[in-house]
Amino acid sequence: MKRRKVDLKALPGKSAQEVDTRLPVATPLRGVLNKVFPDHWSFLLGEIALFSFIILLLTGTFLALFFEPSLQEVHYDGSYLPLQGVEMSRAYETALDLSFDVRGGLIMRQMHHWAALLFMAAIVVHMFRIFMTGAFRKPREINWIIGLSMFWLGFTEGFAGYSLPDDALSGTGLRIASAIMLSIPVIGSWVTTSLFGGEFPGEIILSRLYILHVFLLPLILLALVSIHVGLVFVQKHTQWPGPGRTNKNVVGERMFPRYAIKQGGFFMLVFAIIALMGGLFQINPIWLFGPYEAAVVSAGSQPDWYVMFLDGSTRLMPAWDIRFLGYNIPPLFWPTVVLPGILSVLPMAYPWIEARWKKDYASHNLLQRPRDVPDRTGLAAMAGAFYLVLTISGGNDIVADKFHISLNAMTWAGRIGLLVLPPLAYYFARRLALGLQQHDREVLAHGVETGIIKRLPDGRFVEVHQPLVAPDEHGHTDLPYVGWTVPKKMNRLGALGPAIRGFFRPIEQSAPPKQEEQPREEVTSGKP
């Protein structure tokens, strides 16, 4: 029988042809694969969150194979000796088995937890990037709102996951959550009893959190992620202003092959960092916390970092008990229900607030440098300072203990800091932005500082500036600011990047200096 020769080179094209004749995907795929993405490091921050989410789905699936969210009481009989024979829930037992008796279980658990922390961290960093560059402006307000919703969904998802193992720490967190719900006037007790199926802790809460954690919230998150990324395709990615870049075009690389390959590489890097952290750093050692018992509340009981700001706001809140029309509004209500309420609604409305404030209702596809909108940059710094003070206050007992500060002093520092630091941060960030703006304008008007000091005949010293274009008779250049980097160093002139390529070490030889025919003119101040 004659063997048919397979032409390997024609194979991909041929199979694609076969697919396309059955499923007409070529036309829409061509559009997607040819999509152009602008390239800048700060556009990759959201990808960190996306890739962490994928790793969360993968590791979470593995964990779900071994975990049982049951509150049935058992006696531990696994390989961790210090808990041998201790009465605990089946959920805690299976979480311990995952850590000690399932092959690869511990690293999967740790990767899952680190990926969750990274997911939330990347969301916050990405959100700051979007905010400070004005990427939320028309037409992208909806994506901004979706992004914010994903933060709060991730927050809830993370808290649900933190509560599942039923160790002493997660039980304490759940107890606090039930207290927060109870603090809501009028409906609080109804909400709590219906969620817990009666009094805390009841027997149903873990099953409910489980279905929330492994099915409902991930599904909603996945849908929102798809819409979030889909809208970037539909509305196109924003880009920095620069040569050839307008509000109507996108300058960058095509989705396929270059951008897709780079993204694939970046996914591997995110995966690598999470795997490294999962393997090297211990996270959430549930075996040290022990099983949850109502009487057990350890010192240093904190939520994960993205919930810690609520812990901090609770610690800073004065004990103001308000009685109103026969109802009691406990002090817990303000820092844990009202504050997050404001913090979720206000940023969602911000795109419209800013449009009104700046009277700017136009569509924007070009980004703004943080220095060019000092008010907004100041607001970002203000929000960051506010959040940071609350987050540090959430761990103020650890800070107080390890740095030998009085805990009372930490609380008062937090209270005063919460009111004083955000306005200061606003002021300093705004001045910083204005100063950077001014320096840009100075370079455009006078040129780059050369570092050459010249002594004039009358004895004055002046620094020689290299004008960017031929100056007028006063030595000034009248260049418009286009909203992008202004060269500030002599070796940046005429090139946007460093002259020699290579990140860690040069990957090319520098060209030998050109032998010019005419003697070069001396660099002068531009004055005649």
Binding site: L83, Q84, H113, L169, F266, F281, A295, V297, Q302
Partner: protein, 270 residues
């Protein structure tokens, strides 16, 4: 002599008898004093010489006490207001704990004396303890150095989580209390020190007497605390076992920083 006695009534013979009377009363007073003093010298313990003799260890402890502790706790361990409390009745357990961990002699007056390198050897600390014990009695430690091996770790863990973790934290790493006070880390504590701390409640710690935690309970807790120190973190570097605070710090300092550099690197490749 009453004030309304007429002065005219006072004559010379009366004056003589007054002198004699005074002399008599002085003699009677002297005799009474000699009698009372004699009785006291016979019946009452007259100073240190008259007390039950101290054991050699306590004698050595007293010598140490007289040069290192006396300025704050007083010559008879009765305490000095504003400086140091009375040591009567604290027992040798408290003395051994405070001295062996270096908390006493205290470096300065502050919210809480800190653990530091001890000034005395363990033998000297026990001599001091013997002196205080013989002076005023109080709780004493059981014999032996190794209590951990007598305890059940799993039971100790349960007792630890209920009784100790609210201040010393799940990891034994310690935690903050109000106004600069704190529950110290248990990393360096020996079996005897943990036992003594539970028995005597040093500084801000409550006393866990034998009614609350019987000796076997204490052995169990000690076994668990010591197992925390020897238990190497199976998940990698424990980040100080501070819980989510250092984990949050790590994700930003390691995870986010590394990935921002990765983003800079990838985006620079074009």
């Amino acid at each position: 002599m009453t004030p309304d006695t007429p002065r005219l009534a006072a004559g010379a013979p009366k004056q003589r008898s007054r002198v004699r009377r005074r002399l008599n009363s002085a003699l009677r007073m002297f005799a009474a004093l000699v009698f009372a003093g004699g009785i006291y010298a016979i019946v009452a313990p007259g100073g240190a010489q008259g007390a039950a003799p101290l054991t050699p260890a306590a004698e050595a402890g007293k010598a140490l006490y007289d040069v290192s502790c006396i300025s704050c706790h007083g010559a008879n361990a009765q305490g000095v207001p504003g400086r140091g409390p009375s040591l009567i009745g604290v027992g040798s357990a408290a003395v051994e704990f405070q001295v062996e961990t270096g908390r006493m002699p205290a470096a300065r007056q502050e919210a809480q004396a800190e653990r530091k390198d001890p000034m005395f050897t363990n033998d000297q600390a026990r001599q001091l303890g013997a002196f205080i014990q013989e002076l005023g009695g109080g709780p004493q430690l059981p014999e032996g150095e190794d209590f951990a091996s007598k305890g059940n770790i799993a039971r100790g863990g349960q007792l630890y989580r209920i009784n100790c973790s609210s201040c010393h934290a799940f990891s034994g790493g310690g935690g903050a209390l109000s106004s600069g006070k704190y529950a110290p880390s248990l990393d360096l504590a020996t079996d005897r020190q943990i036992y003594a701390a539970m028995l005597t409640g040093p500084q801000n710690m409550p006393v866990f007497g034998d009614n609350e935690l019987d000796p076997q309970d204490k052995f169990d807790i000690i076994a668990y605390v010591q197992s925390l120190q020897t238990d190497s973190d199976p998940g990698g570097w424990g980040l100080g076992r501070f819980g989510p605070v250092t984990e949050g710090l790590a994700i930003f300092l390691v995870g986010v920083v590394a990935l921002v550099f990765a983003a800079l690197w990838i985006a620079g490749k074009s």
